[in-house]
Amino acid sequence: MQALFGQLLIGLINGAFYAMLSLGLAVIFGLLNIINFTHGAQYMMGAFCAWFLLNKAGVGYWWALLLAPIIVGAIGIVIERTMLARLYKLDHLYGLLLTFGLALIIQGVFRNEFGSSGLPYQIPSELTGGMNLGFMFLPIYRGWVIVASLVLCFSTWYVIERTKLGSYLRAATENPTLVQAFGVNVPLMVTLTYAAGAALAGLAGVLAAPVIQVTPLMGSNLIIVVFAVVVIGGMGSIIGSIVTGLVLGLLEGLTRVFYPEASNIVVFVIMAVVLMIRPAGLFGKEK
C-alpha cells in the first residue's frame, strides 16, 4: 500500500510537470503555430538558473521562482525576435526544426559546461520535512509542487479564458489580421506569448530543481513524453491539457507499481490507442 501511494505521488508530480509543460506548448502553438521543441531546454535552463542564483549569487529559492522565469522568458524574446519571426510565413514544420536545432545547441553547451551528472539543489528550509497523512508520508516539498503547479495551471487558464488580454489572445489565434486591424499590436503579443510560454517552462524547471537532480539532459527526454501528452489531449483546450497531463502522470505511476518494465512506454502506448479511436485527441476539435 505504501509503495502504491508513493508511486501515485510521484506520478502526480510527474503529471503536474506534464501539465505545466504541455500548457506552455499549447499556448505557444495557439498563437504562433509553432511546436516549441526548445521547451525542454527552457525547462532545463530554469532549473540551472535557480542553481546558479543559489550557488553563485546567494539568491534563494523564492527569488529564483521569480527571476528564473524572467531570465528564460527574456532569452525567449531574443529567440523569437531574431529567428522564429522569420519563419511565420513558411510551413509550420520549419518552426519545429528551428527549435529542435536550438535545443541541440543549448543542451550541448550546458553538457560541455556541466557534464551529464546531476547537480543537487537544496530544498528551501521552509519546505523541508514532511507530514504523516495516516496512509502515507508526504514530503512537504512534493505537496508544494503539486499545489503550486495547480495554481499556476489554473491561473494560466483564467488569464486566457476569463480576462480581456486573454480574449485578445484567443481572437488573434483565430484571425491575427483582423485583430491587428482593431489596433492591437499583434507582433508584440506574439513575442510576449512566446516569452510567457518559455517562462512557464522555466518556472517548471525551478519547481523541479529540488525534486530531481539538475542535469543538462533533464528536459530532452521529458519533452518527447510531453509531445505525446499533447497529442493525447489535443491542443484544443487549456483545461484539456491540464487534465491529460495529470491523469497520464498518475497512470504512469500505477504502471510503475504493477508492471515497471512498461512504465517508460505507457504514455506512448496510450497515445497510439487514442489516435486509433479519436485521432483529434481527447479534447481536440476535428478540423
Binding site: A228, V231, A272
Partner: protein, 318 residues
C-alpha cells in the same frame, strides 16, 4: 535542365557517371574505404528520408527507430544466430518495414506537425523497447560483429570487399529511388505533397499512398542501418536515439530537400564533418551540428543542391 535534381537528362547522367567513377576509384586514391562506406550508409538513410519529406511532404521525426532497429536485428542475426550477411540484411529490412507499417498506420491519422510529434513519440517508445529487450545488449549494444561471408562464399572481412558491396547496394538504392519518384506512383506522391485535398478529390486513396511511402522509406532507412552494422562491426543505442532522427533531417536539409543529389551530398558533409570535428572539437561537435541546423532553417532552406539548382535556373533565365 536541372540535372542535379532529376538526373535523367544527358548532363545529369554524365555527372552521375563521373560521381560513380570517383566512388569506385576512391579507395585507391588513399581515402579510407570504411569512411566512405559509412557515409554511403547514411546517404541511403537520407535518400530514404528524402523520399518521405522531399517527395511526399511528410516530416518523420522518428526515422532513427527504423535505421537503428534494423541495425539491431541484423547485428543479432549475424552475431548470435550466425546468419549469412545477405539474409540478415534482408531480415533487417523486413523488420524495419514491419515497424514502418505499424508506426505509419498510427501516424498518418494526423497531419503536419502532429505527424512529426507522433512519429517522434513512437520512435521513443521503440527506443525504450530496444533499451530493455534482452537481445540488444542494453547500454553496451552488440559489439564485435563478424561480417561473415556473402552467400556463404565471399568474405566481407576485407575492407575493400565490403566497400564495394556497400557501393553496389547504394547505387541500387539510388536508382530505385529515382525510379520510384519518376513513376506514376511518385507523381501521385508529389500531388499529395502539393495539395492533399485535391489529390483526395481526384479519387486517390491518399492514406494508402502515404502509408506505402512510409513503409518504403522505413525499409530503405533500415537497409542503411543494417549495412552500417556490417561496416562498423556494431549496433548501439546511438542509432535509435532521437538525435539520430534529427541528424538525418539535417543531412537532407543541408544537401537539399526534394533533390536527388541533396541527401547524398548532405550525408557526406555531415559524416565528414563529424569525423573531422570529433578529433578537434570533441564534445562541442553536437553544438556545431545544432548551429548548422539553425542556419539551414533560418537562411539556407534550399540546401546546397537546391541553391545550385536555383543559381542554374537564374543563369538560364538571365
Amino acid at each position: 535542365m536541372n540535372w542535379l535534381g532529376s538526373g535523367t537528362d544527358r548532363t545529369g547522367k554524365l555527372a552521375w557517371i563521373a560521381a560513380l567513377a570517383i566512388l569506385v576509384l576512391a579507395p585507391f586514391l588513399g581515402i579510407y574505404p570504411l569512411f566512405i562506406a559509412q557515409a554511403l550508409c547514411f546517404a541511403i538513410f537520407a535518400i530514404a528520408f528524402n523520399l518521405l519529406l522531399g517527395y511526399t511532404g511528410l516530416l518523420s521525426f522518428g526515422h532513427a527507430a527504423f535505421f537503428g532497429g534494423a541495425a539491431y536485428v541484423t547485428a543479432w542475426l549475424v552475431h548470435a544466430q550466425h546468419w549469412t550477411p545477405e539474409l540478415a540484411l534482408l531480415a533487417g529490412v523486413l523488420a524495419a518495414a514491419a515497424m514502418g507499417l505499424v508506426v505509419g498506420l498510427i501516424a498518418i491519422r494526423r497531419q503536419g506537425i502532429y505527424f512529426a510529434m507522433i512519429t517522434l513519440a513512437l520512435a521513443q517508445m521503440l527506443f525504450f523497447f530496444f533499451l530493455q529487450a534482452p537481445f540488444t545488449g542494453g547500454e553496451d549494444g552488440i559489439q564485435g560483429i563478424a561480417r561473415g561471408k556473402l552467400f556463404g562464399v565471399l568474405s566481407l572481412e576485407g575492407d575493400l570487399a565490403l566497400y564495394f558491396f556497400v557501393l553496389v547496394i547504394f547505387v541500387a538504392v539510388f536508382l530505385f529511388a529515382l525510379r520510384v519518384v519518376h513513376s506514376p506512383y511518385g507523381q501521385v506522391l508529389k500531388a499529395i505533397r502539393e495539395n492533399e485535398p485535391r489529390a483526395v478529390s481526384l479519387g486517390y486513396n491518399v492514406d494508402r499512398y502515404k502509408l506505402l511511402a512510409f513503409v518504403l522509406s522505413a525499409a530503405l532507412a533500415g537497409l542503411g542501418g543494417a549495412l552500417k552494422t556490417l561496416v562498423l562491426h556494431l549496433a548501439t543505442l546511438q542509432d535509435v536515439r532521437w538525435e539520430q532522427s534529427g541528424e538525418v533531417i539535417l543531412m537532407t536539409l543541408l544537401g537539399g530537400l526534394g533533390t536527388f543529389a541533396g541527401p547524398v551530398v548532405g550525408a557526406f558533409l555531415v559524416v565528414g564533418l563529424q569525423n573531422y570535428l570529433s578529433d578537434r572539437a570533441g564534445s562541442w561537435t553536437g553544438v556545431i551540428i545544432g548551429v548548422i541546423f539553425v542556419l539551414c532553417v533560418v537562411a539556407f532552406r534550399k540546401g546546397i543542391v537546391g541553391e545550385l539548382l536555383a543559381w542554374q535556373k537564374r543563369r538560364k533565365a538571365g
